[in-house]
């Protein structure tokens, strides 16, 4: 299995391309923007995109999808049956599917807008904007924040230290690193650095 990171300079996001060693069917995770560099990468590796995994159905996650669907006969996967005018294969927490020869497990890490999924493939965890290195996604209010932090602790930090976290924004990290270092996850209330503490 090969993994490529594509960084879109227009929306500052990472898109991940996962595929077999010698071309064939491949997976895109969160193609926020479809640009010529990403197309060259896909074609250069002799991949055909058959599956597009979306961690969160916001506009940033969807910009590239419509373009991709004009080029490739791909199936969308998210936790909604439809995103705008695009039909999706709806996934729920614990669902396991095989895509491009890889087992993909969907995890519902709720507490935010309730429509985020993270995807595990082996020791890789694609977290979208839910959890990045030293950060977690923004919440609408303290209650939502508390839910989100609890959920990340229960679901994500329970995984093995070695699991690599590949977020939509910023650098990679690992479960072990976030458990030890992320200041927002190191306290029961959800962070050492709350605004009210400053």
């Amino acid at each position: 299995m090969k993994l490529f990171v594509h960084f879109s300079v227009s929306i500052f996001e990472n898109t991940y391309l996962v595929g077999p060693d010698r071309g064939g069917e491949a997976i895109l995770v969160d193609p926020g923007m479809m640009d010529i560099q990403l197309l060259k990468l896909i074609e250069g590796e002799r991949y055909q995109i058959r599956s597009i995994l979306l961690t969160h159905a916001n506009q940033d996650r969807l910009r590239g999808v419509k373009t991709l669907l004009k080029i490739y006969d791909a199936q969308l996967y998210s936790n909604r049956p439809r995103i705008y005018d695009c039909e999706c294969h709806k996934l729920s927490d614990g669902d396991r599917i095989t895509l491009a020869g890889l087992t993909v497990e969907a995890m519902d890490v709720s507490g935010r807008a309730g429509d985020s999924l993270v995807y595990r493939m082996g020791d890789l965890l694609f977290t979208g904007d839910l959890l990045g290195a030293g950060r977690v996604a923004k919440s609408l209010n303290p209650y939502a924040r508390s839910l989100l932090v609890s959920s990340i602790k229960e679901r994500v930090l329970a995984l093995e230290d070695r699991v690599a976290i590949l977020p939509a924004y910023g650098p990679p990290t690992t479960v072990g690193v976030e458990r030890a270092i992320n200041p927002l996850l190191s306290e029961p209330q959800g962070g050492l650095y709350r605004r009210e503490d400053a």
Partner: protein, 211 residues
């Protein structure tokens, strides 16, 4: 459409065999079916690892976590998808290297020159970094959260999208660096220089990491 990969991309292959001890969650070390801790001959494994690093210049999918290296000259080497978690590097020359999706989390890096290296999507989080030189590096999308960094230079480097969240930086210089979208939130800075750098484009506020 050309069937060649565009420049700037490097594949990662982050799939490693598990340690043969059923209850162990670690990856097997390169050259063994067990992790370093469960190896029958850890010292021999370390010697083989040092030899392996010196023999070739392109390294991919190595798991040398927990090992110690001293005095090696690895300048100009290329590393992709390599695990050096909790490893110790003492006076190892890593000048002009290429590092892509490598993991040095909780490692100890002492007196190691990295100057002129291209370091992308690499994790140094939780590492202890003392008297290292990252001058003139492309240090892009690097995770240096929680590092304890002492007397180290990042001068003339591009640190775009790298993070130093909750780190402790003492006598560290970032002279003439690109600090756009670099996070220093919740970091403890002591004798840190940002001379000639665009530090106004970096993020220092603790509440910037609030959810």
């Amino acid at each position: 459409m050309s069937n060649e990969r565009p420049s700037g991309y490097r594949e990662a292959m982050l799939s490693f065999a598990k340690c043969a001890i059923p209850s162990c969650p670690e990856h097997a070390a390169t050259g063994s079916d067990r992790c370093l801790r469960h190896s029958d001959s850890p010292e021999e494994l370390k010697r083989e690892a040092a030899s392996l690093l010196s023999r070739t210049r392109e390294h991919e999918r190595l798991n040398l976590s927990g090992m110690s290296f001293s005095g090696l000259d690895l300048s100009g080497h290329q590393f992709a998808s390599c695990l050096f978690s909790r490893a110790a590097f003492q006076a190892v020359n890593l000048r002009g290297c290429s590092l892509h999706l490598c993991f040095f989390d909780f490692a100890e890096l002492t007196d190691c020159p990295f100057d002129g290296s291209k370091i992308m999507y690499t994790v140094f989080a939780g590492a202890r970094i003392a008297r290292c030189d990252f001058s003139g590096c492309d240090l892009l999308h690097a995770n240096l959260n929680g590092v304890d960094c002492l007397e180290t230079k990042f001068d003339d480097s591009d640190l775009y999208f790298s993070r130093f969240i909750a780190s402790r930086l003492t006598a560290v210089s970032f002279v003439d660096c690109n600090l756009k979208k670099v996070y220093f939130s919740a970091a403890i800075l002591n004798q840190v220089s940002f001379k000639y750098s665009n530090y106004e484009e970096a993020e220092f506020k603790e509440d910037s990491i609030l959810p």
